[in-house]
Symmetry: C2
Subunit: 396 residues, 2 copies
């Protein structure tokens, strides 16, 4: 990643303001030189954190100036005080960059149900405004400050050719626990210097999310804070329209998929990513349901973490998914070897398949469930002793 | 448990026939002195083991003579050969007790996708017929021979007073992994010497299952083999009718609940049973959905195993359940202490609540989600390092 690949019209900063006891960066700021077009998709949880309520009410919009994100505290289940605190974060940023409160979006991630330490947050916002910059180091500082239990930074940027014209796209994300379809404790911001209008931005973002962040899971637990934003500055002067929208969506989806897969690979305790491909379902939605059900089964997840070619768990997980399969036409390839064919196991070499699973970070599960037209791909993490250990010791 | 508490009209045997490499008992037989009324409820999985197909086709019935069960091999995903083998088991029992093949039910549990070692199974059937008896030791031998990864026997029997009359009921079950609502790798047989007719038996069994075995989960993985049977010999001479059916159902449900809770307590690696009570949902079905979703969340399960009063995970799991909750009216008691009230955490002593969780084998989670009439109770196991370790090393 280089500074020249970053979209024009954005500045970035990331600082430590003391929300995290570890002293790690925990306040991230993205500011547009001018007003940004912004759209968002949000958690499907009925229990919704205060910052999500604010973002929902403000997007889609063509007048967003900044996005402020804190990590270490989710500002969820914090009642009226939480709503006041989230609004204060927006106001604090607005004051510092001469914008209005309704031009600032806010995201939070971290522990649920703790009051926000607003003195530190406000000081951190001031500090971050003073550090805004356009270099790749500023971008990665902003990306680092949204992480929680993530082991690795999730950030990408690139130049994209649309016919004769060039635009830039960039994205940052955080994940680790509570990752599930329909978003998760996942925050992600996708940025571009292409020109979009608000409704178009919203429509494009939904399409991108359905093929990227909504196709991954770690533990099936949909969080209260999930937010995915698309911000466009228009600074490239390149208008997205009929002629180039398809290519633009393809580039955004590709970038989002890279981040989504990084979320899974960096899932708490994960040692493998399962790439679950379902073919032959009645329709794409059925295929997605089957893939998701397999990815959520603790028995499948533990089998993969142990390098165990236990196809019975995979086939039976498909069988209890809320979507039709045809057991007599069901076949399974695991790590490239067909181990189940039309309802009965093949005479495969279990030790060889086990070795193949263990040797790979990403393991292919290819399941054929009939001769319908439905297909789907889902990425899920495996389940390890480390996940359980980690989540048994989170707050106490 | 004493021999006199066992229902009249039944004989039992359990032997080791060599299906399990460990040499532990793996063939169980229940034989009626006369024809039994039998009903069954079965797995909701679309992938169904051969023995389940046979039981489904034969129940409800008034002419069942025996139930043969093997453990160590599930006879699932075994294609046409599996269907032939399951039928051969019925025929083998029928020949030995002078009944017809269609008068014998069959259940299997164990590893999926392996051919049944029919020589050993047939020899075991002959051996078990020679050992049939009416003593409590015969009953427990039959109960032991259906176990797989269970650490403890699940068997109960008792006398029940219905007005002036006395009947006896007994039940055996096996569980351990793949335990989920709508049954699981769960086999259970409930027996009584009361008189029932087949349709009545079927109706009563559904009602009992909905309040017992369908209210428990270990890992949410519905197996291919789940079977719950109700057998009645009528040997007590006590006819169940309008005057005593309610009391009879209550006694059966109570017995079934005891076994269902034992399944959860003995779930693979489990250190706690969560008793999840949901109150105030729109209706009972909604309450059950919410309770089941909480019980299935890996984040909730790991919090409880770690003694962590992490209410945020519980409330957010309720929030993503496919049933309406009212976040501003949502309150939670954990191990007897209110830690969340109308949408915000209370000022509870986390160390005290943690101590209370750790001190208990059964932990109460009481969740209030609104002022609707719907309530439900669900028992689920917690998730431990041992579950993951065990299931990562199952076949390889």
């Amino acid at each position: 990643m280089t500074s020249s690949e970053l979209p024009a019209g954005f500045q970035f900063a990331g600082v430590a303001c003391g929300i995290k006891p570890s002293g790690k960066p925990d306040l991230s700021l993205i500011v547009g030189d001018d007003r940004l077009v912004a759209s968002g998709v949000y958690t499907q949880n009925q229990v919704v954190a205060a910052p999500v309520e604010i973002c929902r009410s403000l997007t889609p919009s063509k007048r967003i100036r900044a996005v402020v994100t804190n990590s270490g505290n989710a500002n969820a289940c914090t009642g009226r005080q939480g709503a006041l605190d989230a609004a204060e974060m927006c106001r604090s940023v607005a004051d510092a960059i001469s914008a209005s409160e309704a031009e600032v979006l806010v995201m939070s991630t971290g522990i649920i149900g703790k009051k926000m330490p607003m003195d530190r947050v406000n000081a951190g916002i001031k500090n971050s405004v003073s550090k805004l910059g356009r270099d790749i180091d500023d971008f990665t500082a902003a990306a680092d400050a949204i992480l929680t239990t993530d082991k690795e930074r999730k950030a990408e940027c690139r130049e994209v050719q649309l016919g004769e014209q060039t635009i830039r796209i960039a994205a940052m994300a955080k994940g680790a626990g509570m990752i599930s379809p329909n978003l998760a404790t996942m925050l992600a911001v996708v940025m571009t210097d292409a020109q979009l209008d608000p409704q178009q931005s919203q429509r494009i973002l939904r399409e991108v999310a359905s093929k990227s962040f909504n196709c991954v899971s770690v533990d099936g637990h949909t969080s209260t804070n999930d937010t995915l934003l698309l911000l466009s500055s228009g600074a490239s002067g390149v208008r997205i329209g009929d002629s180039n929208e398809k290519d633009f969506i393809r580039a955004l989806t590709d970038l989002a998929c890279r981040l989504a897969r990084q979320l899974v690979a960096d899932g708490e305790g994960a040692t493998h990513v399962m790439k679950i491909r379902v073919v032959g379902a009645d329709n794409d939605a059925s295929a997605a349901t089957i893939a998701r059900t397999i990815g959520a089964s603790p028995l499948v997840k533990t089998a993969i973490s142990g390098g165990d070619p236990n196809w019975g768990r995979i086939v039976s997980a498909a069988g209890y998914a809320d979507a039709k399969i045809h057991p007599q036409q069901t076949s399974l390839k695991l790590a490239g070897t067909e181990i189940y064919h039309n309802g009965v196991p093949t005479d495969f070499d279990a030790a060889e398949v086990s070795k193949a699973i263990k040797a790979k970070k990403e393991v292919d599960l290819d399941l054929f469930v009939g001769d319908g037209p439905g297909t789907a791909i889902h990425w899920a993490s495996d389940l390890t002793v480390e996940y359980v250990r980690f989540n048994s010791e989170y707050t106490t």
